[in-house]
Amino acid sequence: MRIVINTEKCTGCAQCVESCPYTSIEIRDGKAHINEYCRFCRTCLSVCPEGAIIEIVEEGDEQEADISGYKGVWVFAEQRDGHIAPVAFELIGAGRRLADELGTELSAVLLGSTAEEAGELIKWGADRVYHANDPMFMKFNDEPYAQLLAGLIRKHKPEIVLAGATPIGRSFIPRIAARLKTGLTADCTALEIDKDSGNLLQVRPAFGGNIMATILCPNYRPQMATVRPRVMKRGVYAAERTGEVVPVAAENLTCRTRVIDTVKEVSECLVNLQEAEVIVAGGRGVGEKGFRMLEELAELLGGAVGASRAAVDEGWIPYSHQVGQTGKTVCPKIYIACGISGAVQHLVGMQSSDIIIAINKNPEAPIFNMATYGIVGDVNEVVPLFIKKIKEAKA
């Protein structure tokens, strides 16, 4: 495919230049020119008021691999020290929804861990679990993980494979994409099935969270994605749900890395923040002293305290509390943003919260676009009053 400029129609208005996320359009001699940075995202096509930008489809553009035999949705259930990571249950939630929509089955793949844990995956919503419980999988090494999962995919041909965008998933899943020649979309925040084609629409933030992109993998299978933890809702746990656990043997795997030690360095609040049902988060507008009243509000609601990067940069609160692109992704029932402007990098970390309450003195603050309830006011006034009213309501 090529994107070309019809120089007769082009007026050099430069609207396309601004629209291009890849800086691939330049104006030279009063006309637009497309350079090598072009990723064929087609954004410019819709922007041009003259219709001067044209897409030319060439022979051989659509390289079709045979994708007809691929069925079923798979999730990779990662474990650490034998325990299934919470993200696996979220993947099952998302995978179940996709599988139901496609009218197909949901399978989970578990490497290491125990039969009991494998059974849990079924109760959370999987129809089948491929379980390789060889001790070599207890510790994470990229090569055997990638080889085993790639082998299973080759054999059973799922159409979709999801994994957590965790240090483990982000590290070994790309090897599978390379090996099988298929697409992999990193760090997805939304997954939908395209009604017309049945393809997976994979939405992810790009350019430091400034924009969102929808990625497709139409001609290769499986369609693979890693999904940010705490973005998808967990599956529904049903103790009576039954399914099949398929044991998988670990044969002929190479492993040239060796984990010789594992050192834990978890701070308490980190765990609390991601597990909390209520998060009271503060930004630059709160000020150093203000964080104490946020703590009080959080305690009253049985929640944890989060922060914007600005507040962390000011040194008012440790980095482990930071929510956003470069901090944690959270998904509580209630997120109360106090004195936070709502920069996209912050929003990507909390936008899937059920209820977002924004308190900001600037009615134009972008956080209000995202808020379920917005209160325009000074945090120093609003928060103490809020605390008082909740106490009254509780009494």
Partner: protein
């Protein structure tokens, strides 16, 4: 010992802003920089060279302008550079990028390959592991410290969610590094002189021996369907009245939802 560093030229995304009226990116005057993580990879390479000997070769796949990034690498101390560039590489996703890098690196020869954890324009963190898979060598992601490097093996610390792992690997190996690993040095005067004089070796499709259907847009399994601004929430309720009345309403709503 050949120590290869993969560097990518990226727009400085910390300066990218969105125009709320047109929902498009404002890219005017946004400078191109070396992906910040790759500077840490380069620094790690230079430190490995200081300990174990060998030469540091910086490679990048990109348009002709990416030569600037390679010169900057020389100014910091890289011994050699390669610009992997061809019109046919345009539009590459991570698969096609990794394939081209693999072909080139295989031609150059390697013992240790260093990549950044991720590139800040796409944040995918896929190219490193994919290159390792194509080369059929092991890789270790999120390296925050190189504890030891010998002629046939390396020991590093790998950052995990709950702490870190100490991981050993045979050579050759590919590492992707996080910022905690080091502080990149500044270009030296001598380095800047060397950068000026450097002849940048170009490698095109033929030179790397790649098949055309595997590079660029044609070789890319993924497609960008569209790009849009992060959206506003649909179920917004605007609270009315004085601040006190608004809070009363809010507390009532929260009680209704059994949150208070």
């Amino acid at each position: 010992m050949n120590i290869i560093v993969c560097i990518k030229q990226v727009p400085d995304t910390s300066e990218v802003r969105i125009n709320p009226e047109t929902n498009t990116l404002v890219r005017e005057g946004v400078p191109s920089i070396i992906n910040p993580y790759d500077l840490h990879a380069l620094e790690a390479a230079l430190q490995i060279r200081e300990k174990a000997g060998g030469k540091v070769i910086a490679v990048t796949m990109g348009p002709p302008q990416a030569e600037d990034a390679l010169r900057e690498a020389v100014s910091m101390g890289a011994d050699e550079v390669r610009l992997i560039s061809d019109r046919a590489f345009a539009g590459a996703d991570t698969w096609a990028t990794s394939y081209a890098l693999y072909k080139a690196i295989d031609k150059i020869g390697y013992d240790i390959i260093l990549c950044g954890k991720q590139a800040i324009d796409g944040d995918t963190a896929q190219v490193g592991p994919e290159v390792a898979e194509f080369l059929r060598i092991p890789h270790i992601s999120y390296v925050r410290k190189v504890e030891d490097v010998g002629s046939g093996a390396i020991r590093v610390q790998r950052l995990m969610d709950d702490g870190y792992d100490v991981v050993e690997s045979s050579l050759p190996v590919l590492l992707t590094v996080v910022k905690e690993i080091n502080t990149p040095r500044l270009p030296s005067l001598k380095g800047k002189m060397a950068a000026k004089k450097t002849v940048v070796t170009k490698m095109d499709l033929k030179a790397i021996g790649a098949e055309e259907e595997n590079v660029g847009l044609k070789g890319s399994p993924t497609q960008v369907r569209n790009i849009f601004a992060p959206q506003a929430k649909a179920d917004r309720k605007v609270l009315q009245g004085s601040v006190e009345e608004q809070i009363d309403l809010l507390v009532r709503e929260l009680r209704g939802l059994k949150c208070v």
